[in-house]
Subunit: 212 residues, 2 copies
Amino acid sequence: MSGHSLKQPDSELTNRSGHHVPGTSKYEQILQGAMRVFLQHGYASTSMDRVAAEAGVSKQTIYSHFQDKEGLFIALIERVTTRRFQIEFGPEPFHGEPATLLRRLAETLLSKMADQEYIAFIRTVIAESERFPELAQLYLRTVLQYGMHGLTTYFDSRPELNLPDSEATARIFFGSLVAFVLAQEVLHGKEIMPMESDRLVNSLVRLVLGSA
Amino acid sequence: MSGHSLKQPDSELTNRSGHHVPGTSKYEQILQGAMRVFLQHGYASTSMDRVAAEAGVSKQTIYSHFQDKEGLFIALIERVTTRRFQIEFGPEPFHGEPATLLRRLAETLLSKMADQEYIAFIRTVIAESERFPELAQLYLRTVLQYGMHGLTTYFDSRPELNLPDSEATARIFFGSLVAFVLAQEVLHGKEIMPMESDRLVNSLVRLVLGSA
DNA sequence: GTCTATATCTAGATAGAC
DNA sequence: GTCTATCTAGATATAGAC
C-alpha cells in the first residue's frame, strides 16, 4: 500500500534498490515459487515462509531481492501479466474473412484461458484489484486493450458488416467470452450449469455477422 | 476449510449450534459490521478484532453466535447473496416487446451493479471462489440462473427473433454486461478505457435483434 | 449472553555469521 | 549474496467473571 509503483522503464534489468536481479538464478527461483503460492492462496494468505520453502531459498534471500511482500507480489504479477499470460492470438490475428476470424479469435482466447494457472491468475488479479489497482489496470491494458484495438480496427475496415459501433461490439465479443470463463471456471459454474463453449462461440459469431 | 456447509433448510431461524439467532439485535449487528469489513478487505485480511470493533460488540460475542471466522463469513455471504444483492428485475421482467425488454433488462442490471457495495461483493465472491466454491455457486444460482432462465424462456417464446440457441444468446447478453462491469468498475478500467454504458446496451440490443 | 483478559501461534521483517 | 536464528506485532480462539 506504500511507496510501490509500477516500473515500466527499468523493469528488466534492475529493481528499485539498484542491485540487479533477473538472469540471477535465485531471482527466477523466487518468482517461480512465489507464483505457485500466491496464485493458489491469494496475497494475504500467502506467507513469506511458504514462498521461501516453495522457492527453495531462505527468507532473507527473498528480502535481499525484493523490498517486501508487496514488492514481490507486484513484481510477480507484472512479470506474469506481460510475459507468461500475455494472450497471443497467433500470426496475423486480425486478417481474413469475418466468420473465420471471429471463430478463430474466440477459440484461441478460450483455449488460452482454459489453463488452470490462467484461471488462478485472473482470480488473483480480481481479488487484489482493490489493494493493487495498478496491477488490475496493467492487466486490462496488456491483455484486453490489444485485442480490443485489433478487433475494433478490423470491424472498421469491414463496413459491410453494418456494425453501428465497432468498439462496443468488440467489447461484447470479448466480454461474452471472458464472462463465460469467469462463470464456468472461476466460479465453478460448469458443475451446476454446464454449457459447451462451442454453443457460445457459434451464437456469438452469428450474432455479430447477423446485421450484415 | 473444515466442516462448514451451506445450510439451505434452517438458514433463517437457527444456526448449526442450535441457539437461535436472527432477530437478535447483536446477531444483526455482527453481520452488518462483518459486511463492511469483509467486503472491503477480503477474507484473509479481515481480523475478528476489527469485525468486533466495527460491529460494536466484543469478540467473544461473535464466537457465541458463530462457530468461527469461516462460519461467520459463510453466513454473511449467504445472507447478502440471497437478500441484499439478489437482483430483482422488477415486476413482470420478461414481458413486452423484445427491444424494450432487452433494454430495460440491461439497464436494470447495470444500475443494480453500479453500487459500490455490490462491486465489493462481487470482488469478494470471486476472490474467495477457490476457498469457498459453494458460495461462488450459490451466487451463480441465485443471481445468474434466475435471469438466464427468464430470458431463455422469453427467447423461446419469440421464434420470430430467429435465434438458433436461446440459452447461448442469453449467456452472451448477461455475460457482456457482467464483463463490462468487471472491466470498468472492479478492475478500474473506466479510468483508462472509458466507455458509456449506453453504447454497450445499444449495440447489444441491436445485435440480438439483428437476426430477425 | 456478554464482557475483559489471556493463551498460543504465526506472520513480516531483521540481525549477524559466513 | 545467502543462510540460521530471532524480534515483535497481530492473528484466532478460549477462559472465566458477571
